[in-house]
């Protein structure tokens, strides 16, 4: 994967800055160090979550390993008032939106259903059903369009989701309504065990032209390029120019979820090849080569990451178990006679076990 007219890349896997005729980005040294820090921290939280799952403390976890640049780049491109609709793997975007990772862990620990306030963070609930959130995003975009607000919506989905009816319907709707929405597809090459060629015979970003809006493929392991391309797409949306499909070309370096074993269906050599394009290593190389950071900085970030991992683990284990009768809450907006009756019956049933 090298820079080409088809692929927007601003930072090579070796950490060299390259020019692109349509996209550029000016970043201060401080901004690059901040991007690096985010990449390292979200990878560390992700690793801790995988470990917690392996130790039986989480029910399941969908690792973002390898997709940090796509998520941090696009997440940092958002304006505060922009709204994001995630899948279940957008831990890096959640980080950028100020969502405490503890909420994500609590969701997969089963002690609550998510818990963050989507409006406080402008970050929707994790959507497990593949592709459904693309429709929510378009509806949200049509809503803010009517408000006349300069707000863009960004919706995350994967390569597998592009085969879903929902996603294609959302493309059509966004197109004909000129909705201010950015379709951010993280093409991580694998839909559980199905490789990309099971979903498409043309590059995904080219599908956009058939729906009547621009599509662009960006190096999804290049945080600079992801930031620049998403920033432009969001700005276009806010300026009334309608939707853009961004295909972030990346790689799922881990399993689909902790319930999956990718060694059963893909070659180790493929993973090794992608490791050479690691999203974090290239930023580190860039910072080093250009003397924008010293070893002390990298050590400090690593230390911070370890501390975050330890804190995340401790706080996860300290999460209180919900009261069993809490399962009857929030089914409806107000009192509901049937539910109240069932809750009372359940409570008295449970009370029967008391000494």
């Amino acid at each position: 994967m090298t820079a080409s007219p088809e692929l927007v890349q601003l930072l090579t896997p070796e950490g060299e800055r390259v020019e692109h005729p349509d996209y550029d980005i000016e970043l201060t040294a401080e901004e690059v160090r901040s991007l690096y820090r985010d990449l390292v921290l979200v990878r560390r939280v992700d690793l801790e979550a995988v470990s917690l799952q392996r130790q039986g403390e989480l029910g399941i976890w969908a690792s973002l390993l390898g997709q940090e640049a796509a998520q941090i780049g696009s997440g940092r491109a958002m304006a505060e008032t922009d709204m994001a609709f995630p899948t279940y793997r957008e831990h890096g975007v959640a980080w950028c939106r100020g969502v405490d990772p503890l909420y994500l862990l609590g969701l997969f620990r089963g002690v609550h259903n998510g818990g963050w306030d989507p409006y406080e963070h402008n970050f929707g609930l994790y959507t497990i059903v593949i592709g459904a959130q693309t429709l929510h995003a378009v509806g949200y975009a049509m809503g803010v369009q009517r408000d006349g607000a300069e707000t863009a919506t960004i919706v995350y989905f994967g390569d597998g989701a592009t085969s879903q009816g929902d996603v294609n319907e959302s493309f059509i709707w966004a197109s004909v309504t000129n909705a201010p929405v950015v379709f951010f597809c993280q093409n991580n090459q694998w839909a559980i065990s199905e490789p990309l060629e099971k979903q498409t015979r043309i590059p995904l970003y080219k599908r956009a032209s058939g729906f009547g809006f621009p599509g662009v493929r960006v190096d999804g392991n290049d945080v600079f390029a992801c930031l620049a391309v998403t920033r432009k797409a969001l700005a276009d949306a806010r300026a009334g120019q309608g939707p853009t499909l961004v295909e972030a070309f990346t790689y799922r370096m881990g399993a689909h979820t902790t319930s999956d074993d990718p060694t059963r269906y893909r070659m180790a050599a493929e993973l090794e090849a992608w490791k050479l394009k690691d999203p974090i290593e290239r930023v580190k190389a860039y910072l080093f080569k250009n003397q924008l950071a010293d070893q002390a900085f990298f050590d400090k970030v690593d230390e911070e990451a370890d501390q975050l991992g330890r804190d995340t683990r401790r706080r996860c284990l300290e999460l209180p178990d919900p009261e069993p009768v809490a399962i009857f809450e929030n089914v409806y907006s107000g009192p509901h006679a049937t539910l109240e009756e069932e809750r009372d019956q359940y409570a008295s049933y449970l009370a029967g076990f008391a000494e």
Partner: protein, 325 residues
């Protein structure tokens, strides 16, 4: 007081809410210029404009998904699924998304939206355009489910549905669109979760919904001629369910009959029969009987469709026979 058809009452009810609250928008296939394929939205485009009365692509998942997203911006969408049978192509949005969003955000996201739909048989539309699927909706926690049987109830329940902060599935009965009835002047607002006693009687309780309400009333007239005084209750709201009105009636008459257009297995009457057997068992003087469409897809031929949907004659005969034994 004006006499309106059931179909005109739908537009009237939506217009009442759109005029009151600018956050109310209408989305669906053919709802704008065409005024709806069942003419239930005639005049709304002219009155409220294309920004609030929106024709959509032919994409049911998107109608509901976008209505959900729009509701998250503070709008109160009324979305139309043309035939309730088409819920089968967008059920993910109904059952997994809109029904569970409040719960899965720990109460932080409300979806104040209404999905209106043409439900039921009697119009010879065949197996895929005639179903009564309100029992599908009843099975999903998080949804509210109503079915009006009169023009007045269309307006009042539509207002209640629009003003409700939960997703409400609003089942219009296609077989009732031409029916006429009085609608009071001024604002009409009803209450979700309330049944209505349409006819009082001492000998038997007949529960009905939608098109089955006028049939149950006709059956009650037949029964009256044979000396049986039947009470007819229009259930109207399946979720929440007005069990108090139902149990009080059964306590009085001692006999319960449900008249359901849905196919037999797990129809809404089965749930009510279970509740009455549980909570009203000692008030019963005979077995609970369900009068339903058989467990078959609906035929398109008029004679066959008439044969399988519960008719006034079948209702009356079933009640009479049951009370005689």
């Amino acid at each position: 007081m004006a006499e309106l058809t059931y179909r005109a009452a739908v537009a009237h009810g939506i217009a009442q809410e759109m005029a009151r609250d600018e956050r109310v928008v209408l989305v669906g296939e053919d709802v704008a210029g065409a005024g709806g394929v069942f003419k239930t939205t005639v005049g709304l485009l002219d009155r409220f404009g294309p920004n609030r009365v929106i024709d959509t692509p032919i994409a049911e998942q998107a109608i509901l998904g976008a209505a959900m997203g729009a509701a998250m911006t503070g709008l109160r969408p009324v979305a139309e699924i043309m035939f309730s049978d088409f819920f089968a192509v967008c059920w993910d949005l109904v059952a997994n998304e809109m029904a569970k969003t409040r719960y899965m955000t720990d109460g932080q996201v409300s979806l104040p939206l209404v999905v209106k739909t043409g439900n039921g048989g009697g119009l010879r539309f065949g197996a895929q355009h005639s179903q009564s699927v309100e029992n599908w909706a009843m099975a999903v926690p998080g949804l509210k489910v109503v079915t009006p049987s009169t023009p007045r109830d269309v307006v009042g329940l539509m207002a209640a549905a629009v003003r409700c902060d939960d997703p409400v599935l609003f089942f219009e009965h296609k077989g009732l669109y031409a029916m006429k009835g009085e609608v009071p002047d001024g604002e009409v607002v009803d209450e979700l979760g309330t049944a209505v006693v349409r006819r009082t009687g001492a000998d038997a309780t007949i529960l009905a919904l939608g098109l089955m309400v006028p049939r149950a009333l006709a059956a009650a007239d037949e029964l009256a001629a044979r000396g049986i005084d039947a009470e007819v209750i229009d259930v109207r709201s399946l979720v929440p369910l007005d069990t108090r009105t139902i149990l009080a009636s059964v306590a009085k008459t001692g006999h319960l009959f449900t008249v359901e257009e849905n196919p037999r297995l797990l129809g809404w009457g089965a749930e009510i029969a279970s509740i009455v057997a549980d909570e009203g068992f000692w008030t019963l003087d005979g077995p609970i009987q369900r009068i339903t469409t058989p467990h078959i897809p609906l035929p398109a031929a008029d004679s066959l469709e008439d044969l399988v949907l519960p008719s006034a004659d079948r209702i009356a005969a079933t009640v009479e026979k049951s009370l005689q034994t």
